[in-house]
Assembly symmetry: C2
Homo-oligomer: 290 residues x 2
C-alpha cells in the first residue's frame, strides 16, 4: 500500500512523500498543521501541505540558519528568532556559549506545542533556561521592541499565509531598528531557481536595509530544488567568514568554518539574478562572494 503526501510547488512541479502514519492533524487559527511519519525521512512537520522540516535532514537548514550569523558576530549575547516554532534554530543558537538570552516569537502556539510533543529532538531547546518563548505576531513584536538584539534570525515559512508580512519592506525597516550596533539579521530566502522572485525580494530587502548584505547557499534535500538561499544583513561586520572569536561548536553535521566561507561563493547565474534585480531598482547589487 502506498500513501502519498502530494506537495505542489509550481504549476509544473510537485513532489510525493511516502507517508506511513498521520500522527496529528488540525486546523489552527493560522494554518493547516500536520505531523506525519514519512517512509524515509523520519517524522515531518507539514504546514499548509508543505514539508517544513524532517528528522533526517533538519540539521542542514537549522545549522545554516543559526551558525553563519552566530559565528560571524564577534559577541552574540542576545538573539531574536522570528518564527522557527519547531525549535530547530533555537537548539542551534543555544550551542553558542556566549548566548545569554534567546527570544523566540512564533505566531502559532500549536506549532510549538506539537513539535515539543512529536519532534522532541528538534524542540529540545525550549526547555533551556536561556530560551524565552513568546506567542505573538513577529511584525508586531518587532515594532514594539525596545530592547535590541545582537542577532535576529527570521525562520519563516513561504511568503503565503501567516509568514507573508515577514517578506515585506516594513518588517525589514523595523528589524534594523531592533538590532544593537554591530547587529546582524539573517532570513531564509527560498529557492533561487524555483522561486526567483521571492529570492530576489528578500535579497532586495536586505540590500536596502543594511550597509552589508550578502547571500549564501546550502543544499537542503527535502526543500524544493535542494538549492536553498539565505540572506544576511549586517551593520558592521562582514559575515562572509567566521569571526576570529568564534568558538568551535562540536557535533555539527553540515556547518563548518570552511562550509561557512564556501557557502558565500555564488554561481554566476545566481549573481546575475541578483544584479538584474538591483539594476531594475537602479541600485548596486549585493556584495559578491569573499
Amino acid at each position: 500500500m502506498a500513501i502519498w503526501l502530494h506537495e505542489g510547488h509550481t504549476p509544473g512541479y510537485s513532489v510525493n512523500w511516502g507517508v506511513t502514519a498521520i500522527l496529528h492533524r488540525e486546523i489552527t487559527p493560522f494554518q493547516e498543521l500536520a505531523i506525519v511519519e514519512t517512509t524515509e525521512w523520519g517524522r515531518a512537520l507539514v504546514l499548509d501541505g508543505v514539508l517544513q522540516t524532517t528528522e533526517k535532514d533538519e540539521f542542514i537548514y537549522h545549522e545554516m540558519m543559526a551558525h553563519v550569523a552566530m559565528s560571524s558576530h564577534p559577541d552574540p549575547r542576545r538573539v531574536l528568532i522570528v518564527g522557527g516554532g519547531d525549535g530547530g534554530v533555537l537548539r542551534e543558537v543555544l550551542k553558542h556559549p556566549r548566548v545569554e538570552r534567546v527570544d523566540l516569537v512564533e505566531i502559532d502556539r500549536r506549532v510549538v506545542e506539537l513539535c515539543r510533543e512529536f519532534l522532541p529532538a528538534i524542540a529540545c531547546g525550549f526547555s533551556d533556561a536561556r530560551a524565552n518563548i513568546v506567542i505573538a505576531d513577529g511584525l508586531q513584536y518587532i515594532e514594539d521592541c525596545r530592547d535590541p538584539y545582537d542577532v535576529l534570525i527570521v525562520d519563516s515559512s513561504d511568503p503565503v499565509g501567516p509568514a507573508e508580512g515577514l517578506f515585506g519592506a516594513r518588517f525589514y525597516r523595523q528589524a534594523a531598528r531592533a538590532l544593537k550596533p554591530g547587529g546582524m539579521m539573517v532570513a531564509q530566502a527560498e529557492s533561487p531557481t524555483f522561486f526567483p522572485q521571492d529570492f530576489t525580494r528578500v535579497a532586495a530587502n536586505m540590500r536596502q536595509t543594511f550597509p552589508i548584505a550578502r547571500i549564501y547557499l546550502a543544499c537542503v534535500p527535502t526543500y524544493v530544488s535542494g538549492h536553498w538561499a539565505f540572506a544576511i544583513g549586517s551593520t558592521v561586520h562582514d559575515p562572509c567568514a567566521p569571526a576570529a572569536t568564534a568558538p568551535p561548536i562540536a557535533g555539527l553535521r553540515y556547518y563548518s568554518p570552511e562550509v561557512h566561507r564556501a557557502a558565500f561563493v555564488l554561481p554566476p547565474y545566481i549573481r546575475a539574478l541578483l544584479a538584474a534585480e538591483a539594476g531594475e531598482c537602479g541600485e548596486h547589487p549585493l556584495q559578491d562572494g569573499p
Copy 2:
C-alpha cells in the same frame, strides 16, 4: 488540463513534472527514450522514466562535469567522454582552447540522433571538427583503448540498465590504464542523501584507483535532492583548484574558479559517509576539501 511525468526515485519519494507535449518516444535496444516539452524547464531528455537533462538547468551539470577536470589539468589536449550522448559535456569540453580531440563513446545511437534533432543547443558540439563520435559500449571501448587520454569524463545515467558496468571496479581499472601520465578521470557520483550506497561506491572506486581522489558537489535543481556529487581521480595534479595555466572561459553560468574551489568543501555529514565507507574497507578515506 494537467499531464504529469511521474518520476519514481525511492519507495518513499517521487516527483511529478508537468508535460505539455511528448515530442518523441521510442524503445531503443538499450532503454526507453523520450523527448518531452515540460511546463517550466523547457525540453527534456527522459531515459527509462528519469529526466536526464532539461534545457533550463542543463548548464549546471554539464559545466561542473567538464570544467573542474579541464581547468585542473595543466594541458588537456585529448579527452574521452564515456556516455554523454546528449552532447552537453562535449559542448563544454570544446570551450577549452587547448583541446585537440574529443572522443565521445555513447552506447545508444538514438540518444545522439534525437538530441541533435530536438536539443540542438545542447548537442551543438557534435558538429565540431575536434569531436569524434563512437557508438559503442564504453566498457569495451576502454578495454581496447591503445591511445591514452589526458582527461576521461564518465557521464553516465544511474547505475541500473545500460550504465551499470560504468560503476564497477573493472571499468575503473581499465580507465586508469587509458590515461596518460598526469591524467584525470571524473564521474558523476549520484545524490549522497538519496543514493548514499551508489555515492560511496563511486568514491571507493576512485579512491582505490588513483593516488589522488576527491569528491566535489553542485546543486542541480532537476536531479533528485538537488545535491549532486562528482568523483574525481588524478594521477599527479590535485584537482581541488584550477591550474595556473587554466584559461578563462567566457559565458559560463555555474562554474567559476571560485565555485571550483568551493565545490570541494564537503559538509561534515558527507565526509562522515565517506569515512565510514573507507573504514569498512580498512582504508584511509578520500582527501578532505582544500
